[in-house]
């Protein structure tokens, strides 16, 4: 009797310690709102698992997961081959949701959305297009009375995934941008203009300064009810960004999706694809040293596909297209 009680107690205790999991993660700030919601809801449904996510930035996420100081990381830009080979653990990219970047501007007394071609946006930042009534802007906006006024380009001064997506797009549509500037979380801005910190900094500056031009995340523009311009996609259509358009871009890219998901979907083909879109990724080690932890992460990722994805659109993020979800489901099974 006594022995049986002791055994039951031991099993109960073992069960208790074996299941309780504290998982540390760090990385991108852009998906932080939805990650936070996922991790909170997951913890409510599974009280024994607690995921602690710190939005320290994509760079920090890559560094920390490479050094093994966190259980998994998150990034808006994929890791480079060099970063992957230098990492102490084998890292897998798991796409979670998608985001988009939209052009914003401030032209007094203009109540029509402007159209922008990619090369025009690039040349505004390079400094080749300096006036709002430049023939190339006028050509994309027939019938709009554009002012003869200097454009004030505004960009993100802090390193950010937003800038990465934006410059990745500009590199694809403008050979000059590719050669002169390139893509990164922060770049050397070639032309005139001012840098502001964060989406709110750029948006605030654009709102305040007449004749300015900038770029912000779609989710930020939606939440703050900002008006933004359309962008010409690879099929030659001017599209206004919506979560659906972003998912369409991902679906168009899904056909040629590489096995490691490190793919850029900016300027994707397809008539409905919004061109300045990107995945954001979780950086998951292939092999966890603690098998229980690996299982907990695996369970969470499955939950994310089952329950999490459906919450994305309501929060302004674009969910993964169905094809990609199916691929990710298979990939998750390889986590040890």
């Amino acid at each position: 009797m006594k022995l049986r009680l002791l055994a039951a107690l031991t099993i109960a205790m073992m069960g208790g310690t074996a299941v309780a999991q504290n998982i540390n993660a760090a990385g991108a700030t852009f998906p932080n709102p939805i990650y936070n919601r996922w991790f909170t809801e997951y913890a409510q449904a599974h009280p024994s698992v607690h995921i602690n996510y710190q939005p320290i930035g994509s760079g920090g996420g890559i560094r920390q997961v490479s050094d093994g100081t966190v259980d998994f990381g998150a990034s808006d830009g994929p890791m480079t081959d060099q970063q992957l080979s230098q990492a102490k653990v084998k890292v897998m990219h798991i796409p979670t949701v998608l985001g988009a970047v939209v052009p914003v501007y401030n032209i007094p007394n203009l109540n029509k959305d402007l159209n922008f071609s990619g090369d025009v946006i690039a040349d505004i930042y390079i400094g080749k297009i300096q006036k709002w009534n430049d023939p190339r802007i006028v050509k994309d906006n027939p019938g709009v009375n554009l002012p003869d006024h200097q454009i004030l380009p505004v960009y993100r001064s802090d390193g950010s995934g937003t800038t990465y997506i934006f410059t990745d797009y500009l590199s694809k549509v403008s050979p000059e941008w590719q050669g002169k500037v390139g893509k990164n979380t922060s770049v050397k801005w070639p032309g005139p203009g001012v840098g502001q910190k964060g989406n709110e900094g750029v948006a605030g500056m654009v709102r305040q300064a007449p004749y300015s031009f900038g770029y912000v995340e779609l989710i930020y523009a939606l939440q703050n009810k900002m008006s933004y311009g359309t962008v010409k996609n690879a099929a030659g259509k001017f599209l206004k960004a919506t979560p659906d358009g972003v998912t369409a871009a991902a679906a168009a890219a899904a056909k040629n999706m590489p096995a490691d998901y490190r793919v850029s979907i900016t300027n994707a083909g397809g008539a409905t694809s919004y061109p300045i879109s990107s995945f954001t990724w979780l950086l998951i080690p292939k092999q966890f040293s603690d098998a229980a932890k690996g299982k907990a992460v695996k369970d969470f990722l499955t939950w994310m596909l089952d329950k999490g994805e459906s919450q994305a659109a309501a929060m302004g993020y674009a969910p993964l297209p169905v094809q990609v979800q199916a691929m990710v489901r298979k990939t998750i099974m390889t986590v040890r």
Partner: protein
């Protein structure tokens, strides 16, 4: 501090024999004499000599810890920026490149921006701060003194991000729509106000810095001026000086070293200020051609780019920017010390 103040401040104590104490100095000097009640009490509590050595040893350690902290910071900054030091060498401090894509880095535009904004801020803040301090100590009616002092100290307590927000919402539009065009119209001939005025830029950052360091300089300068003995003022007035001559010779002259110290403290804050500056300077790493051009400072670029920096050289360069800020602060402080030394050297002997 110059010695007239000290000597006069101590005089009453030295010439006051009663002093309220029970044992006179003569009693302590004589070994055979019975110990004073105070000494007896102290000796009953502990062994005086051991306590004395321990105390001085602990104090020495406290003082040395400052050196240790500074050396440790310097060591970490150098150790972590090894990669960029070996790649760019000393040229890092004179190069203008800042290209995270190709991994080409240099600190010059940031050093320039830091020095330019800080010195411009001093240029604006020092006269204003001294005016406030002189008014408070010499001219202010008693009734106004407390409110003005209180508000000055309140200014010093406002967090810098609040200054930044205020600057973004008030100062930037003001600069763009009113102050900027005004300066361009009337001072355009100086060539300092050329180019397109975005509202953000070097001048706006300097103005917000000036506002931020104003309370520090003025409240310290006020305390220094209050410490100048009344007799100095009375003496100058008695010799037939006017109010202004009295302030100039009796107050400012005696307090000048302390005032330079106050300015150095203000400069220190201006050099290291990050948040407010980054919100209004425009963050464009270029050598600004006019006061309206956007610039960049050392502290701002670290705050902006550190969290998303991925490459090793990039990260290392950002830490070397920190090293540059450290060195700029040391050099500027050294120059300021030299200035103090130059000022005191010219003073009459009694000032030493």
């Amino acid at each position: 501090m110059s010695s007239p103040i000290i000597s006069i401040a101590q005089k009453p104590r030295q010439t006051d024999p009663s002093g309220g104490s029970q044992g006179s100095p003569a009693q302590l000097d004589a070994p055979e004499a019975p110990k004073s009640p105070v000494r007896q009490f102290l000796m009953s509590r502990s062994s005086g000599k051991a306590a004395d050595t321990t105390f001085s040893a602990i104090m020495l350690m406290c003082a040395l810890s400052i050196f240790a902290i500074v050396l440790f910071i310097l060591y970490i900054l150098i150790a972590r920026s090894k990669l960029s030091i070996s790649q760019f060498g000393f040229k890092f401090f004179t190069r203008s490149a800042w290209d995270p894509v190709s991994g080409d880095f240099g600190a010059f535009p940031f050093i320039y921006g830091t020095l330019a904004t800080s010195l411009l801020a001093l240029l604006m803040a020092v006269p204003l701060a001294l005016g406030v301090a002189v008014f408070l100590t010499e001219l202010c009616p008693q009734k106004l003194r407390a409110p003005i002092s209180f508000v000055t100290e309140l200014l010093a307590a406002i967090p810098s991000v609040v200054y930044g927000l205020w600057a973004v919402f008030v100062l930037v539009p003001l600069m763009r729509d009113q102050l900027g065009p005004f300066l361009q119209k009337y001072l355009g001939w100086t060539q300092l106000f050329n180019g397109y005025n975005f509202g953000v830029g070097l001048l706006t950052a300097s103005i917000i810095l000036a506002i931020m360091i104003l309370p520090i300089i003025s409240s310290i300068a006020r305390d220094i001026m209050l410490a100048v003995p009344i007799s100095q003022r009375e003496g100058v007035l008695a010799l037939g000086a006017t109010r202004w001559e009295m302030i100039r010779m009796g107050v400012l002259r005696n307090a000048r070293i302390g005032i330079v110290g106050a300015i150095i403290l203000g400069l220190g804050r201006a050099l290291g200020e990050t948040m407010a500056v980054t919100m209004v300077i425009g963050n464009h790493p270029e050598i600004p051609k006019s006061l309206f051009s956007p610039g960049y400072t050392l502290a701002s670029v670290i705050a902006n780019e550190f969290s998303e920096a991925t490459g090793d050289v990039y990260l290392s360069s950002l830490i070397e920017i920190g090293l540059a800020l450290f060195l700029v602060t040391i050099v500027v402080n050294a120059i300021a010390r030299a200035l103090v030394w130059a000022v005191t050297r010219g003073a009459p002997a009694r000032a030493h």
